[in-house]
Symmetry: C2
Subunit: 193 residues, 2 copies
DNA sequence: CTTATGACCAGAATAGTTTTTTGGTCATTT
DNA sequence: AAATGACCAAAAAACTATTCTGGTCATAAG
């Protein structure tokens, strides 16, 4: 029964473990215990299969963040809560990390496009929240698109890039640091006046 | 006469225009109007030639930044001035940009290493300045290494990555934005108390 | 004797060719 | 109507032949 779910699960597994290129449709059908032709009853092609998985992942992250957000009143608390919500997805992130690594080794245009879409999806989400916060005067006026872009990139740097040459940061540290740099700023209180 | 300078100039030119891989030692010797063997009297090999060029570039940037810094009294002014100083290097940056692009297309370990060294060089420089500023209590206490890392990355994002999908930012905008996000923070004045 | 050179060579990169793999189809089965 | 897997064209990989290039060094110039 529900063959489509089996296929999605199998594909997610294989993409996460072996990457896009090294995942064959044959293998997916084997893992899903489904005829290869069956995959094509549900997905137009390999690219669409990956796209759908990523789309679902983005939707789930959005949902997780929104749920956390609703528990808090002030922007700063909501901001931290949303970050926590997203950071819970550790295993799900593995797919994204695997695809990012793949992009460094091979030049697979499909993977590049899918990841770019994912990035834009997340940035748009952050952008929405930033816009609302500006309207409510919970943060200073700023370019929401640019702010979202920098927040996302900073998040990636703290979670992924920093650990390449240094001790990796804990979830708590990441949340603290983003709050510290984006909300508080480095200027000491004495200078504020 | 001063053959070493001729070689450095020729190599810089060719590396900037064609990248590391596509620059042949033959071509460098031709441009420098020097026998190929002569290059090897001054540089151990192709890698060392690039390294030396990058090292000099880093030193020049450091000097430019320091000179600007000395003209200003407060950390914020010095910070902006140093950024301006570095941003003046437009043409010099072309070498770095070319090498960065090359890294995306081919997997040349030497280029990767050289660029990583360059990045670390700049981060170390920023780190020094941040440390001093903390000591003088011109900015809040923070991890200097991490702060330098984020500042550098943010700078690169604003100057390079942002323009891939958006209108490029002017020098003035970049300086303003780094100041805005790193020093001021998004938290509005009302929240400060 | 010191400095400079470019013909030369081994190994790397590239181009060309053959073989294998794989995304996607569709006639057949369930 | 839903599912399958043998099948095929096209892409990737493996292999080979050819060209290119970093680095050397015997020789030349100063």
């Amino acid at each position: 029964m529900n063959k489509k779910q089996q296929i999605l699960l199998a594909a997610t597994q294989s993409f996460s473990r072996y990457g896009y290129k090294a995942t064959t449709m044959d293998r997916v059908s084997k893992i899903a215990q489904v005829g290869k032709g069956t995959i094509y009853l549900h997905f137009a092609n390999k690219e669409e299969l990956l796209k759908e998985i990523i789309k679902e992942l983005a939707a789930q992250m959005r949902l997780a963040a929104d749920q956390e957000i609703n528990k808090h009143a002030t922007f700063i608390d909501r901001f931290e809560a949303a970050l926590y919500g997203i950071l819970q997805f550790q295993e799900r992130h593995e797919l994204i990390i695997k695809l990012s690594d793949e992009l460094k080794d091979f030049r697979t245009p499909i993977v590049k496009k899918v990841l770019a879409d994912f990035e834009q999806e997340i940035c748009l989400y952050i952008e929405e929240k930033v816009e609302k916060a500006i309207q409510k005067q919970e943060i200073k006026p700023c370019d929401p698109k640019l702010t979202a872009f920098l927040m996302y990139k900073t998040y990636i740097h703290l979670v992924n890039d920093w650990k390449e040459n240094h001790q990796p940061l804990s979830r708590e540290q990441v949340v603290y640091l983003i709050r510290f740099y984006f909300l508080e700023g480095l200027k000491p209180a004495a200078y504020q006046a």
